[in-house]
């Protein structure tokens, strides 16, 4: 009997995979399969039109590879965590050659830069492509949109390139020079820890390890935990010194000549949160009160991710166990979407033997209870007879 179950399982598994492709290719909708574009074109379309999804997948995977992310998105039928899971699995098979040099923020080709701390900042503020101030009407007319025509309209409306942007010093660096920013509680690390090569160690993983764990965190969980601290289950409510989105060169030290060389470019979102506290400035002792910083970053244009990360960096730096978002283990063990999704979904695996053991205990316990009840009722009957 057991033998046939295993054989049936293998066939079912195979068929399940076929059915996934059946569903992915529109089989469930009974559409015209002949009219569907080749899958490579679908991947192209994802890359061109699903920028946020692709960015999110790369961020959660911790792996910058837009076309591979778009392919994963297609493979996963739009399930973002599943796609980042696929991408991260691929990453595990690739060599990690060496850490890149720190990103030079001043070298960013800025797409967008805002500050919520100052009305004007040196270098100016650039709204860039943002949904922040759009009205969220459903644009039903998209059904009739012709991409090429609309694109040339947009290009005409935006006008030409204004040339190079001015120098944009980092706002928090200026505040630091003015002596307003506190020293981080931990000394700077020589080399960042890579949590794909060294495990997280509690109670206090180094900041680089925390930042990496947060940077790969699941978008919803980052957002939810950061919100809980903002709202009252914690107290980190930063003012954004600045939020930048743009492309930066990836630089490594040349293995032979010891000079930095550009090996590519990535789009990043960077967030400097000034943890001023929304209501109460807190500090002790006689020293001047200074402001703490929280830092957030994400691949792509992923602003809520970067802001949430800056909040959680601030929460974890303080180390006070005030709310869930301040709890180092709670945050770092539950932030990863691939881990949490995997473990929640593992409940679908067979637990036949575990369940049989539970049932065995249940039967035993209930039998003892029944016995006890019987004994009690016999005793009661005895009393009544007296």
């Amino acid at each position: 009997m057991g033998y046939s179950v295993v054989r049936g399982g293998a066939e079912a598994m195979q068929a399940a995979e076929e059915m996934l492709d059946f569903a992915r290719l529109g089989g469930l909708d009974r559409g015209d399969a002949e009219a569907a574009p080749p899958t490579s074109e679908v991947i192209d379309m994802m890359l061109r039109s699903q920028r946020s999804a692709v960015d999110r997948i790369m961020a959660e995977a911790g792996f910058y590879a837009p076309r591979l992310a778009a392919t994963a998105l297609v493979q996963a039928e739009g399930d973002a965590i599943e796609a980042s899971f696929i991408l991260r699995s691929l990453r595990a098979s690739l060599p990690r050659i060496e850490p890149a040099l720190p990103v030079e923020v001043a070298k960013m080709r800025v797409l967008r830069r805002i500050s919520s701390a100052f009305k004007e900042v040196p270098g100016g503020q650039y709204l860039g492509p943002t949904r922040d101030y759009t009205l969220r009407f459903l644009r039903r007319a998209l059904e009739d949109e012709l991409p090429a025509a609309r694109l040339s309209e947009v290009i005409a409306a935006l006008g030409g390139d204004d040339g190079a942007l001015p120098e944009m010093p980092r706002v928090v660096e200026m505040l630091r020079e003015m002596g307003l920013i506190s020293q981080p509680p931990e000394p700077p690390e020589e080399e960042p820890v890579d949590i794909t090569m060294q495990p997280l160690r509690f109670p206090r993983p180094p900041r680089s390890a925390r930042l990496q764990a947060l940077a790969r965190g699941e978008t919803g969980m980052l957002n939810g935990l950061a919100y809980s601290s903002l709202r009252g289950y914690g107290h980190v409510h930063p003012t954004l010194g600045e939020l930048r989105v743009g492309a930066v060169p990836v630089r490594v030290k040349h293995p032979q000549w010891d000079v930095p060389v550009d090996i590519g470019e990535v789009t990043l979102t960077l967030c400097d949160g000034i943890i001023s506290g929304v209501a109460m400035v807190t500090a002790t002792g006689d020293e001047d009160i200074r402001l703490d910083l929280g830092f957030g970053a994400s691949f792509g244009q992923q602003e809520a991710r970067a802001i949430s990360m800056a909040i959680l960096d601030g929460c974890l730096a303080e180390g006070t166990s005030d709310g869930p978002a301040d709890d180092m283990e709670f945050v770092l063990y539950h932030i990863d979407g691939i881990e949490s999704l995997g473990f929640v979904e593992h409940l679908k695996q067979p637990h036949y033997m575990l369940f049989a053991s539970v049932m065995d205990r249940l039967a035993g316990a209930n039998a003892r209870r029944a016995e006890a009840r019987d004994a009690e009722s016999r005793a009661n009957t005895g009393e009544m007879a007296e």
Binding site: F118, K119, E120, P122, L135, R231, A279, V281
Partner: protein, 295 residues
């Protein structure tokens, strides 16, 4: 009417004021209750509007629920008529009502604002709608809604006073920057939103009605006209507004309005009026009206 004419692309048809009548009604009921019980946080149903949560959805729901065709409205963000957030809300309200928007606070019957009370004196009949992120002044030390509501109900502000006292002991001063708690009508402690402390005296016994909308938290509260608003403080450590000695507005030289810093290269500051309409009026500029498509 120049830059403001940018219309919302592909906005579908909607009723006057965008919200359906049931929604408007539920907001109005909450407002009436809030006005009857100054400082009390009235729960209400807060449906999604096409402005993101945290961008003024509560204020917008109030404005859209009370606005009538004769109203002239003004929208400011940190005192500024021209920030993108202010422009966006003005466009939204203008588009779905067809009402005239103004930058002149004296001509406005409804002033929707984030983080600022207009510097110019308010008048009877005017309504200031403040966008509120945190309706509960007790939230910063009591996270549980159930507990803080009971504290409000019993007028039990001992923990709050203790916090203020501890702050004085630690720092020699009550270290609350914005969201400074005020006692309204001698009964409820209220979160006046993130207006500067500078603005709180302007709320005291004001002839105007203040309505506070917290859309995400689903609360409306109010300070009716001619109601006392007393920022909390101690006899020996009284409430103080922000100190502005030695500063004047770079543009209009004002020293009697709340000044916001502008960061310059190298870390220097300039100061300008946060209330742009006030600043422009002092410089003799005309404060324009704007209108969108007719409804």
């Amino acid at each position: 009417m120049t830059e403001m004419q940018a219309q919302t692309r592909e906005a579908p048809a909607y009723p006057y004021g965008y919200l359906d009548e049931f929604m408007k009604g539920s907001v109005r009921v909450a407002i009436l209750k809030a006005v009857c019980i100054p400082g009390y946080q009235v729960p209400y149903v807060s449906e999604e509007v096409p402005i993101a949560r945290g961008y003024g959805s509560g204020g917008l729901q109030i404005t859209l629920s009370i606005i009538g065709r004769e109203d002239r409205f003004k929208v400011i963000d940190e005192g500024d008529d021209e920030t993108v957030n202010a422009q966006n809300l003005r466009r939204m309200i203008g588009t779905v009502t067809g009402n005239v928007a103004t930058r002149d606070p004296a001509r406005a019957t409804i002033i929707q604002s984030r983080h600022k009370v207009p510097e110019a004196p308010l008048a009877e009949g005017q309504i200031v709608v403040l966008q509120s992120a945190f309706p509960d002044a007790l939230r910063f030390f009591e996270r549980s809604e159930a507990v803080s509501r009971q504290m409000h109900a019993e007028g039990d502000y001992a923990k709050l006073w203790l916090r203020l006292y501890e702050s004085v002991i630690d720092h020699g001063e009550i270290m609350i920057g914005g969201r400074y708690p005020v006692m309204v009508g001698g009964r409820y402690v209220l979160d006046p939103t993130h207006v500067p402390r500078w603005d709180l005296p302007m709320m005291d016994n004001s002839p105007a009605l203040f309505l506070f909308g917290a859309g995400r938290e689903k609360r409306i509260y109010a300070i009716p006209p001619y109601t006392s608003v007393v920022p909390l403080g101690f006899d020996d450590h009284p409430f103080r507004v922000e100190q502005q000695e030695g500063r004047a507005c770079l543009l209009c030289q004002s020293t009697d309005s709340f000044l916001a810093p502008v960061l310059r290269m190298g870390g220097a500051y300039d100061w300008v009026c946060s209330d742009t309409a006030y600043c422009r009026a002092r410089r003799g500029e005309e404060l324009e009206d704007a209108q969108w498509l007719d409804q």
